[in-house]
Amino acid sequence: MTTISAAEPTRRDFLFVATAAVGAIGAAATLVPLIAQMNPDASTIAAGVPIEVDLTPIAEGQIIKVFWRGNPTYISHRTKKEIEEAQNVPLDSLPDPQADKDRVKSGHNQWLVVVGICTHLGCIPLAHQGDYGGWFCPCHGSQYDTSGRIRRGPAPANLPVPPYAFLSDGKIQIG
């Protein structure tokens, strides 16, 4: 068997290091498409465009569920009582303090739009249930109030408000 003697000029070492480095760059570059292919593809992104929702058929006290980007989004037409409850809670008693006015669009207090996914582990909370008249998650018992804020249970945060805007008084665009 022939082995290469260890003591040789550094030119050889440089060649070996350069070859290994270029090879490593190539291997890393090869990973790019293999990883990128798992990100949302162009058609999925194109399907995630904003949606428009007509609010006029939603009666006071009613909550509807629409889908945006594959996720259920609750639109709640709140009653006076629900709005008052939401506004009058002392913020320091909340696990994730946020004022109700920061969760609705000004002038549209009766409309609450939240992503209907429990911030605990992703189940869909049931509307008009639980001790706070908001949402109750059947999976692990998290309870949300009429502003979609977490009040009790394992969930760490309020139901998120998706990006949306009022196109007119009776129409919103989510996304």
């Binding site: 068997m1 022939t2 082995t3 290469i4 003697s5 050889r12 060649l15 070996f16 350069a18 070859t19 270029v22 090879g23 760059i25 190539g26 570059a29 790019v32 498409p33 293999l34 990128a36 292919q37 798992m38 990100n39 593809d41 162009a42 058609s43 999925t44 194109a46 399907a47 465009v49 058929p57």
Partner: protein, 738 residues
């Protein structure tokens, strides 16, 4: 650690595994008995702890590092490494593709197009996989011919060889089933024809075919099981490869002399010597591989496979992929169904008998003057059979196929047994060290050239029947100058926008563009309309949506994310309006058409990449309307067209000068319209063309740099072997070199 065995008791690396991974007949040069790999202990304490419980690192070391490999191997011995690399590449890209592919008969074709258009780098992954199959077979054939030339199948390597034949059979099954998955016309009819081979079996043949199909014809159940098996078989191949390598390591590698190394002095450790040599050649072959992937990705495919599977129409000229062509020729050369099928399977199965059919005791063709000639004759036979397999089974082609088929079998059954008896071999050296340095490099070049030749012999084939005996029979679509041709080609945005206008004003009355969305018109590398223009174009179209809250379907203006709506609600409606004919969907039309360029052009087209045959054809057909020759009878409602296969086209001349208004001052002529719409359709068929060529250039430059560095690294590593110090001191060198 008291109570545990000490290092001393455990220290016998390799032996603990019970697996012997080095040649059993190799001796130690110092006369100290049989060769054993140098003792190996991991330096790291944790690894040592693991090694004492599972000697896996020691196994890897004795297998891939200290394994003694004959020092005189030439480059043909790197193809095992190359094949391993391609197998891994195929498995990785294949698993990724299954994440996006839908194995369902109505969705499979579109899901492949979804991969090509929407998935991030999906086009790259798919082209790597489809061309990887060809590279796998190319490397496989070189590997097999190498074994035949140097007699690598002879004792004690019979099992090693037979395992190789099993791998080859598994590869053929895997490649075939993979080809079915895109569910194009060639996929469908390949599935039909190959499964029908089993109908030749007497009595139970038809039942077996029904069982294979899972129905009364090739259909969704067939596609589903082919997908499942196509996912499974590569792992079966990997498993047999492990056995193949194990067997190889037990009996040791053959070498160009065919004389086994006697002592470890005639070997070098696998790492770094074989490792760096394999890596260098893998990089070199990768350049060829990516050339196909980035510049001629559909060259080895067939345009018809971009037409969705149609159980009602067989393509006029069906051929398998190039790597099956020799066997296809053997099948067709025999006029009896059962005998033909037996000959087909026999021509592959006979390889397993090779160790016993070849009766010569000399391994390497170097020392077998007659066998060497018959070997090359056999290679030529295989290539010619491959060429014949791509030709229609008529006239002289059939006669030639028959002669060559007879020769194929005669080589095994007559030539090889008799040669062993009557050939007078040259003097075989007693050892590798004694062997004379010969021009093995030339042999390597020849084998490589032959391998490439095999690829081209089965190269591009006509999209549809081109052989019609009439005045315009051999008329080829004129070759145009396309801005997007060649390695640096880019689309002309203005041309694509004009082409879209032609589609919009003329073609879309009858032709759908179902795979395209309006948003594509604004994407990079396409016509690049502005977002506002795209929205305006989309809004012109009525798109069916729903159901609404009342449960009704309704129409609304299109949005950028919508697909182009079809002009007809269904195929029947389209046929009813168009005199029974179906205007084809235009989404991949430019890739689904082509023509035969003939030798030598189709070879030149791979080196100076010219793959715009489909676009040439589309432009030619649109320009090809002419008065019919007086002696030709034209079916009612059909038009004469010089370039359309069969010359009778259902579509009336769609274009006339001035029919579409251009605002950029481009001439409003039929010829210009034809070129613009053809260019637009090329983009529609391959929206990622510009990205492909751009990334391709970067990859090729990178690989050339890497290959260069690997070459010099390899030279460095082998320096001591190739130019030993003894030679420098004027003594007889111990090494033989290649």
């Amino acid at each position: 650690m008291s109570g545990f065995p000490t290092d001393k008791t455990l220290h016998a690396p390799g032996l603990q595994t019970g697996l012997q991974t080095w040649p059993h007949n190799l001796k130690r040069a110092d006369g100290g008995g049989p060769y054993e790999p140098p003792p190996y202990r991991p330096r790291n304490g944790v690894l040592r702890w693991l090694e004492d419980r599972l000697p896996i690192i020691g196994l890897a070391h004795s297998t891939a590092v200290s394994y003694p490999t004959p020092r005189n191997l030439n480059y043909l011995w790197t193809f095992g490494g190359i094949l391993t690399f391609i197998l891994v590449a195929q498995i990785v890209t294949g698993i990724v593709l299954t994440m996006h592919y839908t194995p369902e008969a109505t969705m499979a074709f579109n899901s492949v197009e979804h991969i090509m258009r929407d998935v991030n780098y999906g086009w790259l992954l798919r082209y790597l996989h489809s061309n990887g199959a060809s590279m796998f077979f190319l490397a496989g054939y070189i590997h097999m011919f190498r074994g035949m030339y140097y007699g690598s199948y002879k004792a004690p390597r019979e099992v090693l060889w037979i395992l190789g034949v099993i791998i080859y059979l598994l590869m053929m099954a895997t490649g075939f089933m993979g080809y079915v998955l895109p569910w194009g016309q060639m996929s469908y009819w390949a599935a039909k024809v190959i499964t029908s081979l089993f109908s030749a079996i007497p009595l139970v043949g038809d039942s077996i075919v029904t069982w294979l199909w899972g129905g009364y014809s090739v259909g969704n159940p067939t596609l589903n099981r082919f997908f499942a098996l196509h996912y499974l078989l590569p792992f079966a191949i990997a498993a047999v490869v492990v056995l193949h390598i194990w067997a190889l390591h037990v009996v040791g590698q053959n070498n160009p002399t065919g004389v086994d190394p006697q002592t470890d002095k005639e070997t070098v450790p696998f790492t770094p010597h074989a490792t760096i040599k394999d890596t260098f050649f893998i990089a070199l072959v990768s350049i060829l591989y990516v050339w196909f992937v980035f510049y001629i990705p559909n060259f080895l495919g067939h345009p018809d496979n971009y037409i969705p599977a149609n159980p009602a129409v067989t393509p006029p000229h069906i051929v398998p992929e190039w790597y099956y062509l020799p066997f296809y020729a053997i099948l067709r050369s025999i006029p009896n169904k059962l005998v033909g099928v037996i000959a087909l399977f026999g021509s592959i199965g006979i390889l397993a008998l090779l160790p016993w059919l070849d009766t010569s005791r000399v391994r390497s063709a170097r020392y077998r003057p007659l066998y060497k000639q018959f070997f090359w004759l056999f290679v030529l036979t295989c290539i010619l059979l491959g060429w014949l397999g791509s030709k229609p089974p008529e006239g002289g082609y059939v006669v030639m196929s028959r002669i060559l088929t007879i020769w194929y079998f005669a080589h095994f059954f007559i030539v090889l047994p008799l040669l062993g008896r009557y050939e007078r071999p040259r003097l075989v050296p007693n050892s590798i060290s004694e062997s004379v340095k010969i021009g093995a490099k030339a042999a390597v070049v020849v084998v490589l050239a032959v391998g490439l030749g095999a690829v081209f012999a089965g190269g591009p084939r006509p999209a549809a029947a081109q052989e019609h005996a009439d005045v315009h029979a051999d008329l080829q679509p004129p070759r145009n100058t396309w801005s997007f041709a060649g390695p640096f080609g880019k689309f002309d945005r203005g041309q694509l926008q004009r082409g879209f206008k032609v589609y919009h004003d003329v073609c879309q009355t009858c032709h759908s563009l179902s795979l395209l969305s309006f948003r594509n018109l604004g994407e990079e590398g396409g016509p690049e309309f502005s977002a506002a223009e795209v929205a305006a174009i989309a809004a012109e179209y009525k798109v069916k949506d729903g159901p609404n809250d009342q449960g009704d379907m309704f129409e609304r203006p299109g949005r950028p994310g919508d697909h182009f709506p079809p002009p007809f609600p269904n195929e029947q409606a389209a046929r009813f309006v168009n005199g029974g004919l179906l205007p084809p969907d235009m989404s991949v039309l430019a890739k689904a058409r082509g023509y035969e360029r003939g030798f030598p052009w189709f070879v030149i087209d791979t080196i100076i990449p010219y793959q715009e045959l489909g676009v040439d054809y589309i432009a030619a057909v649109l320009n090809g309307y002419a008065p019919k020759p007086p002696d030709m009878t034209m079916p009612a409602g059909m038009q004469y067209n010089m370039y359309f296969p069969g010359h009778a086209i259902g579509m009336p001349p769609p274009l006339s000068d001035g029919v579409v208004t251009y605002t950029d001052g481009t001439p409003q002529t039929v010829d210009q319209y034809a070129k613009d719409i053809a260019a637009f359709l090329m983009w529609a068929a391959e929206p990622t063309l510009e990205a492909r060529k751009r990334i391709g250039f970067q990859v090729i430059i990178f690989l050339i740099v890497l290959t260069g560095l690997l070459y010099f690294t390899k030279k460095r590593v082998w320096h001591e072997i190739e130019k030993p110090r003894e030679a420098a001191r004027g003594r007889e060198p111990e090494a033989t070199t290649i």
